[in-house]
């Protein structure tokens, strides 16, 4: 600017940033850093609130109540095995649904679909992923159970199986999209080398691309399990353990999960304050849930990073 108006040669001070501009720059950078730091504050708040109340619960609860016949917090029975077993049963049913559906969709979209077909089919999964879990819960209770589970087995209306099926539908898009990404990341020269050796499409997909992407696929399944364990509304509506539950591992019976147990406690929350320790038990279950899902997420993260390192 100065150079064009006057003939004087440019000095270093002409290029120096004006102090006002520098101050503004620092202030804006500070705002962005603060915004980024909020996430650490949030994690701190989560850990702090869970730990404090969970410890209080553990110290004050009658240890026998942690291993009783069932989960009936209002009667002082906090059998952890009951809600952990319920969670595992529902997650297992969900993975039985989501593994074939999710991986199949992932392989098809990554290896078989032409770009046109992909543009047509991908929105199906995206739409399915956007359906709120409370809606799938209602669907599990009013359609899946009377139309699929009950005719086949004669089970009661609310079962862990129907809730598990709906949870499986919920996590299918997640498994599909992560496994598709993993297979998409496999370099095309591996496929070309396979074709060059005379392999067919199916051999290339299943024996070359799939094994090469296996860490990403494991990560997809682990994230799916983690999501299934943390899923709340479907289970709260369709698994039928609202008032509490005895220890149960048969998927064709009603059951209680960690998340549904928490919801049941929170809905009756006006009484929760009064009843001894039920408020704190909420946080103890929450801490358990947090630790389990965090572990699964960290392991899955490690798998994803292994894929990225490999190629």
């Amino acid at each position: 600017m100065t150079a064009s108006s006057s003939r004087a040669s440019l000095t270093p001070s002409d290029l120096r940033i004006a102090p006002g501009r520098r101050r503004r720059e620092a202030a804006i950078r500070g705002f962005f850093l603060a915004a980024a730091a909020v996430s650490i504050l949030v994690t701190g708040a989560i850990v702090f609130s869970l730990l404090g109340n969970a410890l209080y619960f553990l110290i004050n609860v009658d240890k026998g109540a942690l291993f009783s016949d069932g989960w009936f917090p209002r009667r002082g029975m906090y059998d952890i095995r009951t809600i952990v077993a319920g969670t595992l049963v529902i997650s297992a049913v969900a993975m039985l649904v989501a593994t074939p559906l999710g991986l199949g969709a992932g392989i098809y979209l990554s290896e078989y679909a032409t770009p046109r077909v992909r543009r047509l089919l991908k929105p199906i999964l995206e739409t399915l992923a956007s359906i709120p879990s409370v809606v799938l819960g209602f669907f599990a209770l009013t359609w899946i159970s009377p139309n699929i589970i009950q005719p086949l087995t004669g089970a009661p209306l609310s079962t862990m199986a129907s809730a598990g099926l709906a949870v499986g539908i919920l996590i299918t898009p997640l498994v599909a999209s992560i496994s598709e990404d993993a297979m998409h990341a496999v370099p095309s020269y591996l496929r070309e080398a396979s074709y060059g050796l005379g392999a067919r499409k199916r051999t290339t997909s299943l024996r070359v691309v799939f094994p090469a992407a296996v860490s990403g696929i494991v990560a997809a399944l682990l994230l799916g399990v983690s999501r299934a364990i943390g899923e709340t509304m479907i289970v709260a509506i369709a698994a039928g353990g609202t008032g509490g539950s005895l220890f149960e591992v048969n998927p064709l019976e009603p059951g209680q999960t960690m998340t549904a147990a928490m919801t049941a406690l929170a809905i009756g929350s006006d009484q929760v304050r009064g009843a001894e320790l039920t408020f704190e038990s909420l946080f103890f279950v929450g801490l358990l849930l947090f630790v389990i899902t965090l572990t699964l997420n960290l392991v899955s993260d490690a798998f994803v990073r292994r894929v990225r390192r490999a190629y």
């Binding site: 980024a36 989560i46 199906i124 956007s130 943390g230 849930l289």
Partner: protein
């Protein structure tokens, strides 16, 4: 085999050999099975939407407006979702004004400012892990921090803050992706003519990333719109209550559309099944419209560098 081969042309013979004596039936079966998995997902989607629409017909046909403008009631013939609509809109306003600026700011810091230090690595790992925390745990955090410690009580403000915190990591991740898609050369062009970091971000990076950021934030709002579990934790009412107006809901009892769906789906009467389906139709209509517009937006502005 040998006698047959003599009759074939060389090309056919070679193809025949390469195909190991026939078409790849197993391959076709596999392809069909893979496609079937996608079609099953589509089938579920179609059945779900159709089933809920059919269930909702009585309400949609008889009192479409009345249903939207009536308050909650224990009498099915008079019950409506007005409070849920007001509550959900107010909650979204909270999420949009708190989570989106913070989320976009954090993403700009991580993508445009941060060097590879322990702090930025910590923040990145932390945000990835927060995105995987079950939403009900965010609800517990809201219950302990916003409702109890900060003394906000079981108010809509506490609910809004909880949802905002829940959406924050998603907003950061989607915005980061949009920023990363802008090529380095665009930044270098701005920096090369003497722009500062902020000037580069404001005039070059964000305008190019805007469609991606917009899609991401719209989708994260849609996610918050359907969340139920954290709201139940921080005291949204899953039952019937009366409220005066918007001001009343800010300070006192409140609910949201998905919470009403949950509360009604626990009622045994058939009339409430119909009402639940009708409320779900409203919920899905909003979410599917938002998602469709996000997909259209993405396709229209999708830019390959």
């Amino acid at each position: 085999m040998v006698t047959g081969e003599r009759a074939l042309s060389t090309r056919e013979a070679v193809e025949h050999r390469l195909r190991a004596g026939g078409g790849d039936t197993a391959g076709l079966v596999l392809q069909g099975a893979l496609l079937l998995t996608l079609l099953i997902s589509l089938g579920v989607l179609v059945v779900l939407v159709a089933d809920i629409l059919i269930r909702a017909i009585p309400v949609i046909a008889e009192r479409p407006i009345d249903f939207l403008t009536s308050p909650l009631s224990s009498r099915p013939a008079r019950a409506g979702i007005l409070q849920g609509i007001i509550g959900s809109v107010l909650l979204m306003a909270f999420v949009a004004t708190i989570a989106l600026p913070l989320g976009i700011g954090a993403a700009v810091y991580l993508e445009e400012y941060a060097r590879d230090t322990w702090l930025s690595r910590l923040i990145r790992t932390n945000i990835r892990n927060l995105a995987g925390v079950p939403s009900i745990v965010f609800g517990l955090m809201g219950l302990a921090i916003f409702v109890s410690t900060l003394g906000l009580g079981k108010s809509l403000i506490a609910g809004g803050l909880t949802l905002a915190v829940l959406v924050l990591p998603i907003a950061v991740i989607t915005t980061s992706e949009a920023l990363r898609a802008v090529p380095l050369s665009i930044r270098e062009a701005a920096l090369g003519v003497g722009a500062t970091r902020w000037e580069t971000v404001r005039s070059h990076v964000v305008p190019y990333a805007a469609p991606g950021i917009l899609t991401g934030t719209i989708l994260s709002l849609a996610r918050a719109f359907g969340e139920t579990a954290p709201l139940l934790m921080v005291g949204a009412i899953a039952g019937t209550f009366s409220s005066g107006g918007i001001g009343d809901m800010l300070g006192g009892s409140y609910t949201a559309l998905p919470v009403i769906v949950f509360s009604w789906s626990g009622q045994p009467q058939d009339e409430f099944r119909t009402l639940t389906a009708a409320a779900i139709v409203v919920l899905l209509l909003v979410i599917l419209l938002v998602n469709a517009s996000a997909i259209v937006l993405r396709n229209r502005y999708d830019r390959r560098w």
